[in-house]
Amino acid sequence: MTLLEEAPAARNGHEPSRSRLVVVGNGMAGVRAVEEILARDGAGQFAITVFGDEPYGNYNRILLSNVLAGSDDTSEIYLNPVDWYTDNDIDLRAGVRVVRIDRFAKVVLADDGSTLHYDRLVIATGSRSFFPPMEGMWADNTTLTAGVFGFRSLDDCSGMIDYAAGKARAVVIGGGLLGLEAARGLQNRGLEVEVVHAAPTLMNAQLDDDAGAILRRSVENLGITVHTEKRTEKVLSADGAVTGIEFSDGTQVPCDMLVVSAGIRPNVGLAVRAGLTVERAIVVDDHLRSVDDENIYVVGECAQHRGQVYGLVAPLWEQATVLAEHLTGTNPKAVYQGSRMATKLKVAGVDVAAMGLKHPEHPDDEFVQFSEPRNGIYKTIVVRDGKLVGATLVGDVSKVAFLMQAFDRGLPLPEERISLMFDLGTPSVEVGAAELADDAQVCNCNGVSKAAIVSCVQGGQKTVSGVSAATRAGKGCGSCKGLLGQVVEWAAGGAVEEDASASWYVPGVPYAKPELMRLIRELELHSVSSVFAALAPEAAEDAQSKMGLASLLQMMWAEEYVEEHDARFINDRVHANIQRDGTFSVVPQMKGGVTSSEQLRKIADVADKYEVPLIKLTGGQRIDLLGIRKEDLPAVWADLDMPSGFAYGKSFRTVKTCVGTDFCRFGVGDSTALGIAIEERFKGIAGPGKMKLAVTGCPRNCAEALCKDLGVVAVEGGRWEIYVGGAAGAHVRKGDLLATVTSAAEVMTLTGRFLQYYRESANWLERTYSWVPRMGIEHLRAVVVDDSEGIAERLDAEMQKAVDAYRDPWTDGREPATPGQFRPSLPLTVLPQVPVR
């Protein structure tokens, strides 16, 4: 980056005719305006420089609430990473603040001492947090007392996250949208939070008293204390850090941190000093130009248009479009007419949406009100001349998508107004999609209109994910995804394509599983590289496809499979499970969860010798040694001298058992012996997903067999029930009964056949809990139990081949399969980083 003024021609070597556009403010409005300008071929007219005093690319400020709450990572909220500027030939001066605009010389002066000439200027300086005067709030003229925060920028947000660690109590001043989001975020971080609000009603800018009272109860139900009608007079501190606040009535609330969210103030200092007309914000005309200077445009929260100053993103998308049309001359008649404002509270568990009027204002306005305080539900609707002009939804926002569109675009409303609030035959959203005006905004976070989506579909994108990638619709808070899907569907005339690749077994090889398997067999492809060479477009390898192909080939060829280590995920390369700090976890085989004092002694010795930071019992009844360094793996295995438990792969994992008839007074079947036998036979078998099994000795089901990929339950009369497709992880599902059999031998046969059928026909990473319902239990029963397709014998034989090909991967420890197989990949990191217990 250079700080000297340069003529645009010098930077590009050609097009000396381009004039210079300078944008002050690298926030949501400024960059959106630049994007709109680029979209209108502005790069041919302007050499663009963007100043931003935050040292980052442009990020989605809205999502700071999610970052604080921990549901988004800071790295996930960038709208335009720094590379975007380079790629678009934009001179980004990040971390540089403009301190003066000289309108007569047409230059801006920045705090790094640089000056830059402009032909056109865009002011997009946004707002800052407002700190009401309070004793003790400031450490000095520019520094807040330690522990006091505003909530506006990424730095505010990271500062709060860091400071909150280990703190117990927070107070948030301000019970508006941002204050409540900040409170919930801090609460998610484990703090006890109290919200202090000067007005009697929470979110009083958007809500009436009834709605506010219901909101208050929902917030309190989350465990957040609310004080209303309290004026904070003092910030108390000790040793320079905040310790509490004091109200005007003298009462105090102790706290370890304080967030002030008492409103925002537009950043207008630059404009004032430059002699532009500033009232509440910088006054602009209908082209978003300063009323004093036709070369200066103003956009976003620092602009005042027809008396309105907006504090939400939707209006600034509209402003940016008008600005770009006018500035580039694409449409010199483009005018901004003002925006309607709709708000949604982004606090999980407390649904609030509000738009337009709170109450009827004219005598013939229609007003529909529904209130159910006990259930925390409150809804109102204001209709004027048959158009929706206001709506409030608390507690149930299921109708918000339609209402927002109706509000934005003045859609015709159903005669029965009540159906605007409840599902009583409201126009279905498909009708909504058809009726939506072209410029209706579908994605409010990224400002994507129906027309933009439609033209994207007409341009050939026929998948929802494709449209989303191309337009960024649905990539903000995600609440518009349903509507987006419907608009895409409507635009494609019902011909929405499933992503073509959605049916492929792996993303890099364009075939569904059956076809892929047929080709692999026909062409005798025994290794992953040979599959890419023969079947991938342009024979290109694809990193994302390697694991799935390796698993498939291993399943298909068993002993004849040609192992290529680079096609394996790291876990499968070193036969251990990678942990967050790059160390590994080691789980020795412990069939059926049965162990011996000798094994335990060995494990204990190994744990001591390698200073294993954490020894943990797994959910699958085994012992996990966590925090092992990669380079120690071979020695650990040698010392353990136990086979691998395969706790790291997409493979057969464990068989959980209960003690059954051995010791349990209720047991009716020898579940332990059967579990051990199953694990002995199928250990290490590779598959499209993990396979976790269990055998339990009676229907009391102590081994939780009903929620396993395959679970066996002993029942009275020497019989065994076999359940398949159960799960109890991220997804919970009770297994379906596949068969009831009378001998352990039959259990073994059906288990093998079922697992083989799963291995052959499930998609990559598709667990049985989705595969079983997809195939249908009747179909599975027909194939696996009744052999309706005549393939049982083949399935059994294939499984036998796989069983015969078993070899304990931990023997790799003796003779590494590749050079440096166990060499550390992060040699300089101090390990372990996971907590030592």
Binding site: Y78, D83, A543, H565, I578, D581, T818, S825, L828
Partner: protein, 109 residues
Amino acid sequence: MEEVDAPVVGHLEDIPVGEGRAFAVAGDQVAVFRLRDGSLRALDAVCPHRGGPLADGLTDERVVVCPLHGYTYDLATGQEMSSGATGVCAYQVSADEGGAIRIGPRIAR
């Protein structure tokens, strides 16, 4: 790729074809990848997301996928491809006829 003039950090034989290994270079950790077409690539060894070991990632001719959460980096430029997150630095790297690997300066992006 042009020859790099720098101390030898390792040998081609240290890196199986299609995989990566990490080397320490003047205080930096650099992951060197040996692609199936025989060429070499070098990136910072530590994933900027949560510190994942990139040398342990799956690769193809264009990218390496971090083993921890799947962020995907362009092997030639270090750019993050899955969501435009922060990228890593790419380095010049070469092996001479005897297979000695040298890691050169960062490649400016």
